[in-house]
């Protein structure tokens, strides 16, 4: 029960409900246990973009989006977290590929630029055919600061750096924005610094 309560969104009461249910359904408990044991061995972060990926036998770890050859290789969408990637995917407005930062600048939590995976981002842009980096961090102060910082780091690499349009309320969460709003935000993107 203590372990269950450590999951995001699960409080003590919910953990108790899960635990009681698992005690009465031994088959479910065994099946769940087995897949949980396998999980870290089968699913991990994509080596290229940080999205969820199934680990393949040949040792290459690429997510389905990075492997999809129909994706537009010139567009790269930079997001804060996997949930935002999934939300943008659901909107259907993104034809290119992604890059998941995993965090945002957040001075009050001690997170500075050294903690952002900017080297990997720059490496992708240098080695691939990317011509536009769309920064889709949330419209919060830290999301904006991160976008500005990245735009500065990418200047001189010869890519257009754009920012999704506001429309998502200030302090709002991409994850919870509806598909139409997200689609519009992507379409209405503007060059940073204009």
């Amino acid at each position: 029960m203590r372990l269950l309560a450590r999951l995001p969104g699960v409080g003590e009461k919910t953990a108790m409900r899960f635990a009681l249910h698992l005690i009465t359904d031994a088959a479910l408990a065994r099946e769940l246990g087995a897949s949980l044991v396998e999980l870290p061995a089968r699913i991990g972060p994509c080596e290229r973009c940080g999205n969820l990926a199934e680990l393949s036998a040949d040792g290459q770890v690429r997510c389905s989006i990075c492997r999809d050859t129909r994706r537009d290789p010139t567009l790269l969408c930079v997001v804060a977290k996997i949930q935002d990637l999934l939300a943008i995917e659901r909107s259907g407005a993104m034809r290119g590929r992604y890059f998941v930062l995993g965090k945002l600048l957040s001075p009050l939590d001690g997170i500075g630029p050294e903690e952002l995976p900017l080297r990997s981002l720059v490496a992708i842009i240098r080695s691939e055919a990317v011509t536009e980096a769309i920064i889709a961090t949330p419209p919060s102060v830290d999301g904006e600061a991160t976008a500005l910082y990245i735009a500065r780091e990418l200047s001189g690499l010869g890519v257009r750096t754009t920012r999704i349009a506001s429309g998502i309320p200030h302090g709002g969460d991409l994850e919870f924005a509806d598909q139409i709003t997200l689609g519009r935000a992507l379409e209405g993107r503007r060059r940073i610094g204009e």
């Binding site: 630029p113 102060v141 600061a145």
Partner: protein, 365 residues
């Protein structure tokens, strides 16, 4: 005349010492009586919270929850012209939920400006003589009703300011990320300054006639907005850059709207330090009347007025404030007092007035 905006019913659960209070206010004058510490201010606080999402005396809305309870709930039935709506606020240390007719509004500011309320409480007595932050809050209230986004600019500016100061102090004035936080401060701070400048203009337009009307003799009122920053974001950014060393040394940001001042003078002398007490009192009332007028103009409705302890047996002169406010508004008014018998209200007839009595956090007949 029946005002177009009025609370028809207010239910309070678990707010400070109010375990359970239900009142059906009259459209004009509601007098809330009771001895000190029995919950009068708390009832006004409940009304303010369900209208604005804020408390006028607690830093965080969650602080108002009754000891031993998890949540405070306030439900108000609001008559707004021909429309009746229900506003609900549920707050706790970790919960904040605001609903209009059971639905979450698209943005918090939509909720906070739906039912305009103006409060005058003892803390406002230092509006003229006290710290500049009180006058900035007044400007921000006026701005919010005219330009709802000004609240976002303020919040975002203050957040970026804290983060920049934190970077300065931890990493010094050459940290790589300082410039992006300064760019955000400049962008949001310039917009906030512009909104405050316009709010000051609107306030001044209403303040000057109100002061002239209320002052005993002809006095010349001066009002000017003295920005601590600038409305030009490029200049703003440059100033932040050049203030880095000083801000580090002084442990505080020295440039920006966090240092705005609304300067008030009477006959050319600063009202804060050189006006007589009587003049300061009239100016304070005039500022509140001006707030009332600007909010009225922005919302196109007569704001609900909350007057906390402005009449007191210790200071008979202050009953005059209630009298003056009743003349200035045709809207719904809530007044708290320990001595309802002393509250003479020539602007309202007996039929317009209802008295409520609070004892130990409950209504008594």
């Amino acid at each position: 005349m029946t005002p177009s905006l009025a609370l028809r019913r207010v239910s309070v659960r678990g707010l400070r010492n109010l375990a359970r209070v239900d009142i059906e206010p009259v459209p004009r004058l509601n007098v809330i009586a009771g001895d000190n510490g029995h919950g009068k201010t708390s009832l006004l606080e409940a009304i303010y919270l369900v209208s604005t999402t804020r408390s006028f005396r607690a830093e965080r809305a969650g602080e108002v929850v009754q000891t031993g309870q998890d949540l405070a709930t306030i439900i108000a039935t609001v008559q707004d012209g021909l429309v009746v709506r229900e506003q609900r606020a549920i707050v706790g240390p970790r919960v904040k939920s605001y609903l209009v007719d059971g639905k979450r509004p698209d943005r918090l500011v939509t909720f906070a400006t739906l039912t305009p309320v103006v409060v005058f409480h003892p803390g406002d007595l230092s509006l003229v003589t006290g710290p500049a932050s009180l006058r900035r809050t007044l400007l921000d209230r006026v701005a919010l009703f005219h330009e709802p986004t000004s609240g976002d600019h303020r919040q975002r500016f203050l957040r970026a300011l804290r983060e920049r100061q934190d970077i300065l102090e931890r990493k010094g004035s050459s940290a790589a990320e300082l410039s992006v936080y300064e760019e955000l401060m400049a962008r949001e701070g310039a917009l906030l300054a512009a909104a405050r400048e316009r709010a000051a203009e609107r306030l001044t337009e209403a303040l000057t006639p109100a002061f002239t009307r209320m002052a005993a003799r002809e006095l010349e009122l001066g009002v000017s907005y003295r920005p601590g920053g600038t409305t030009d974001s490029d200049q703003f950014g440059a100033a932040l850059f050049s203030h880095r060393a000083a801000d580090l040394r002084r442990h505080t940001a020295t440039f920006g709207p966090q240092r705005d001042e609304l300067e008030l003078s009477i006959d050319g002398r600063p009202a804060r330090t050189q006006a007589s007490q009587g003049q300061q009192r009239v100016l304070t009332l005039a500022l509140k009347v001006a707030e009332l007028a600007t909010v009225r103009a922005a919302r196109g409705a007569e704001p609900i007025l909350l007057l906390d302890d402005v009449s007191s047996e210790l200071d008979p002169a202050r009953t005059g404030a209630v009298y003056e406010f009743l003349r200035e508004t045709s809207g719904q008014v809530f007044v708290t007092t320990t001595r309802p018998d002393l509250l003479v209200t020539p602007g309202a007839t007996i039929a317009d007035r209802a008295d409520w009595h609070l004892r130990d956090g409950a209504l008594v007949p």
